[in-house]
C-alpha cells in the first residue's frame, strides 16, 4: 500500500472511566458531536447512563420492538440484533448470551436501557466525559471519534477528576499547541513528566502500523475489540514529540487520524493523548473486519509495530497467510498472461508464440476459479491484446489484488536447457509466495525443477502485493515445447497454480 503518514487532529479531551456516581442533572448526550435533544431524558442510575427506548429509535436510529407482555426490548440494525428483558441481568446479542451489569429498568412507565451496553453492541463508540457529565457517542464511520478506555473500571480518583477537567478545557484549537509539552504535568499529583517517551512518527504502510518512539523502554499494551472491530494500542508514559505534533494539521476538536480510503482492512487510524495520569498515548486502528495481527516492538530503531499481514510467512504452512481478503470477502488474484499482440514473447522451436501459451494457460487458471467462494481472478488480458509492463502493474493496484502471478514460457539459445523456474523480485512475502507457487508448479509441469530465483523484473518488482512470475517451461527445448502446448499439460499446470494459490492463502484445496 502507499505510504500514508501523518496526523490530522489531536485531542486533549481526556475521557475518564465511567464515573457516574453523580446526580443526573445536566447529563448531556452527543451523537457524532451533536447534542441530542434535551428531552432525550437520559439519566444516571447506579453509575450507569440509561436512556428511554424511544431515544434509541429516534436519536440513535436503531430499530426497536417492545413486547409489553414479556417486557422484552429487541434492538437491531442491519448488522446486530439484541434482546433485553426488563430487570434481567443478561441480554442476547446475535444469539449469544451476554451478562449485563445494569439491566433495563422501568421508570414511570418508560423503559430505560443501558446506553453504553446498547451503544457499544450496536457498533457505537461510547465515551464518558466526567468533567462535563457528557456521553459522547460516535458511529464507527465518524471521523472525529475518540475511543473510550477499554475496560470500564471503578470511578476515577479525585485527582484524576481534576486533571480531566483541565484537559478537556484545552479542547480548543488555540490551546492545543501549547499544551502538548505540559499535558503530562498538569495533573497536579506529582506524576513524573521528565522521562516520557516521545512518539515521533505514526505511519501505515504495507498493512503495518509503525510508531516511532524516542525510547526503547516503552511498555505498550494492545487490545482487540469488536463492534466495531478495532485494535487499541496504549503507550503509557508517552506523549507526542513537539516536532511531530507541530508538523501536522489538526482540527479544532483536537483529534488525530489517518484516513484510509479503499483499504481492504483498515478504515482509519486515530490517535490522541488519551490520559494525562499517567501520560498515555492511545492509537486505535479501525478495522473493516476481524483481522489477525502481530504486535511487536523493536529496538534501534525504537518502534511499535502492529502488522496486519497476519504474521507467518513460512512457506507452505498454509495457515496465517501474509494476505488479507478484501472487504467483499474474496481474495483477488491477478493472473497476468505475459506479452500479447505486437509482442509475441519468445518463439518456440516449432515457431509457436509464447504469448499464445501464456494466454491459454492464464484462461485455464481463471476457469478453474470460476464460482470459487474464496478467490476472484482478475486477468490483465483475456485475449491477444498488448499491455505495457506498467499497465499490468496498474491492473493489480486498481483491483486491490492480494496476489499477483505472471505466466510466461522461457527461452534461451541453448536447446539442452529444460525445466520450470519461478521468479520473485521483492524480499517481502513475495519470496515465500514464490516458493509455495513453485513447489506446486513443478508437480504440475513434471519438468526439471530449476528452482525459485530472484530477479529484478518489472511486474514482480513494481506490484505491491506478493508477486511471482512463472516460467513454466522452455520453448527452446524439444521436450518442454511439446508439453507446453498440450491441453492436458496446461490443465495440470492450471490445477497446480490453483493449488499454490489456495495453499498460500490457507484455503481448503
Amino acid at each position: 500500500m502507499k505510504k500514508i503518514g501523518g496526523m490530522l487532529l489531536f485531542c486533549f479531551m481526556l475521557f475518564m472511566v465511567p464515573n457516574m456516581s453523580h446526580a443526573s442533572a445536566g447529563l448531556q448526550i452527543y451523537l457524532n458531536g451533536v447534542s441530542l435533544s434535551p428531552s432525550a431524558g437520559g439519566q444516571i442510575i447506579k453509575d450507569y447512563t440509561m436512556i428511554p427506548i424511544r431515544v434509541v429509535v429516534e436519536e440513535l436510529g436503531f430499530q426497536v420492538d417492545w413486547d409489553k407482555k414479556t417486557r422484552t426490548v429487541t434492538i437491531h440494525n442491519d448488522k446486530t440484533s439484541m434482546t433485553l428483558v426488563v430487570d434481567q441481568k443478561w441480554a442476547t446479542v446475535d444469539g449469544k448470551k451476554v451478562s449485563l451489569d445494569m439491566p433495563p429498568t422501568l421508570k414511570s412507565d418508560t423503559t430505560l436501557v443501558p446506553l453504553r451496553f446498547v451503544g457499544e453492541q450496536m457498533g457505537l463508540v461510547v465515551n464518558w466525559e466526567n468533567a462535563t457529565k457528557s456521553v459522547y457517542l460516535f458511529t464507527s464511520d465518524y471521523s472525529s471519534e475518540v475511543t473510550k478506555p477499554d475496560v470500564p473500571t471503578t470511578p476515577g480518583k479525585p485527582d484524576q477528576g481534576g486533571s480531566t477537567g483541565e484537559g478537556s478545557n484545552n479542547g480548543s484549537d488555540g490551546t492545543n499547541n501549547g499544551s502538548n509539552g505540559s499535558n503530562g504535568g498538569n495533573s497536579g499529583n506529582g506524576s513524573v513528566t521528565q522521562d516520557l517517551a516521545e512518539i515521533q512518527t505514526v505511519t501505515f504502510e504495507d498493512n503495518r502500523l509503525v510508531v516511532g518512539v524516542s525510547k526503547s523502554d516503552v511498555k505498550p499494551t494492545q487490545t482487540k475489540l469488536s463492534n466495531p472491530d478495532r485494535i487499541v494500542v496504549d503507550i503509557p508514559n508517552a506523549k507526542f514529540s513537539d516536532s511531530f505534533f507541530n508538523s501536522q494539521n489538526f482540527a479544532a476538536n483536537g483529534q488525530a487520524e489517518i484516513q484510509l480510503t479503499d483499504h481492504p482492512l483498515v478504515s482509519k487510524i486515530r490517535y490522541s493523548l488519551f490520559s494525562s495520569n499517567p501520560s498515555t498515548v492511545r492509537i486505535v486502528i479501525d478495522l473493516n473486519q476481524n483481522q489477525a495481527y502481530q504486535f511487536t516492538t523493536t529496538k534501534d530503531p525504537n518502534t511499535i509495530i502492529v502488522d496486519l499481514n497476519g504474521g507467518s510467512t513460512d512457506p507452505g504452512n498454509g495457515s496465517n497467510p501474509g494476505t488479507i481478503p478484501p472487504a467483499n470477502g474474496k481474495y483477488v488474484v491477478v493472473i497476468d498472461a505475459g506479452h500479447g499482440a505486437k509482442d509475441p514473447g519468445a518463439i518456440s522451436l516449432n515457431k509457436r508464440n509464447e504469448k499464445d501459451f501464456n494466454l491459454a494457460q492464464a484462461l485455464k487458471v481463471a476457469e478453474l476459479f470460476q464460482n470459487d467462494p474464496d478467490v476472484q481472478i482478475v486477468l490483465t488480458r483475456s485475449d491477444d491484446t498488448f499491455l505495457e509492463l506498467k499497465e499490468r502493474v496498474t491492473v493489480a493496484k486498481q483491483a486491490n489484488a492480494n496476489l499477483f502471478i505472471s505466466i510466461h514460457a522461457n527461452s534461451i539459445n541453448k536447446a539442452t536447457i529444460s525445466g520450470t523456474e519461478t521468479y520473485y523480485s521483492r524480499d517481502d512475502e513475495s519470496k515465500a509466495f514464490a516458493q509455495v507457487m513453485h513447489s506446486n508448479l513443478v508437480q504440475g509441469t513434471k519438468l526439471p525443477d530449476r528452482g525459485v530465483r530472484k530477479q529484478s523484473l518489472h511486474v514482480t518488482r513494481e506490484t505491491t502485493m506478493p508477486a511471482c512470475l512463472l516460467e513454466v517451461g522452455y520453448l527452446t527445448n524439444q521436450t518442454d515445447e511439446a508439453a507446453l502446448y498440450q491441453d492436458d499439460f496446461q490443465n495440470r499446470v492450471a490445477q497446480s497454480i490453483k493449488n499454490g494459490i489456495k495453499q498460500y492463502l490457507g484455503l481448503q484445496p
Partner: protein, 174 residues
C-alpha cells in the same frame, strides 16, 4: 552465417582504409603481427576488454576477456558490444547471439547510444533478458569515458526489449 558477416565486415574495413585520405599516422604501437587479420594495418588498435555472458544455469553474468580490433576510437563501442554475440566457452551462453548491434555512438559528455535489433526469434526468457541488458551495460561502462547508456530498439526508445524488463532511458553509471 555469423562468420560470413564478420568477414564481410573486415572487407568493408579494408575498403575504408584503402580509400582513406592520408590521415593515417604511425602512432599505434599496439599493432600485433601474425594474427588472423590477413592484411596488416598500421592504424588498427587491439584492445583487451571484458565481455559478459551467462553461465549455463542462466543465473549470473560471467566475464571473459576478449580482444577487439578497431581503427577509429569511435568504432570501439560497437566492436566491443559485438563480442557479446559469441563465446567459445561451452559453459557460457552468449545472450546477444541472435540479436544485432546496429550502432553504438558516443556523444559529447559520454552519452553512449546503442541501437539494437531484437528479432522475435532472439526473445529470451525473463532472467536471460535481464542478464542481457546487464551484460550490455557492464561491457559499455568498462570504458571510463562512457557516462550513460541509452538502449534503442530499431532506433526507437521503447519500454522493454523482450517484455519482462523495463529499459531505462538512459542508464547511468551506478
Amino acid at each position: 552465417m555469423r562468420k560470413f558477416t564478420l568477414l564481410a565486415g573486415t572487407f568493408v574495413l579494408l575498403l575504408a582504409l584503402a580509400t582513406g585520405c592520408g590521415q593515417k599516422t604511425e602512432t599505434n604501437t599496439n599493432t600485433q603481427t601474425g594474427d588472423t587479420t590477413e592484411v596488416q594495418q598500421p592504424t588498427e588498435q587491439t584492445l583487451k576488454i571484458q565481455s559478459y555472458y551467462t553461465d549455463d544455469q542462466i543465473l549470473n553474468l560471467v566475464p571473459k576477456e576478449q580482444e577487439i580490433k578497431f581503427v577509429e576510437e569511435k568504432d570501439k563501442y560497437l566492436t566491443a558490444l559485438k563480442t557479446l554475440q559469441k563465446t567459445d566457452d561451452p559453459n557460457q551462453i552468449a545472450l546477444w547471439e541472435e540479436s544485432e548491434f546496429l550502432s553504438a555512438e558516443l556523444k559529447d559528455g559520454g552519452a553512449l547510444t546503442v541501437d539494437v535489433k531484437v528479432p522475435a526469434e532472439a526473445h529470451l526468457g525473463a532472467s536471460a533478458e535481464d542478464l542481457a541488458v546487464q551484460a550490455l551495460l557492464k561491457t559499455a561502462f568498462q570504458f571510463d569515458e562512457v557516462k550513460s547508456v541509452d538502449i534503442l530498439v530499431d532506433g526507437q526508445s521503447v519500454d522493454t526489449m523482450m517484455g519482462h524488463v523495463e529499459l531505462e532511458h538512459p542508464y547511468t553509471r551506478n
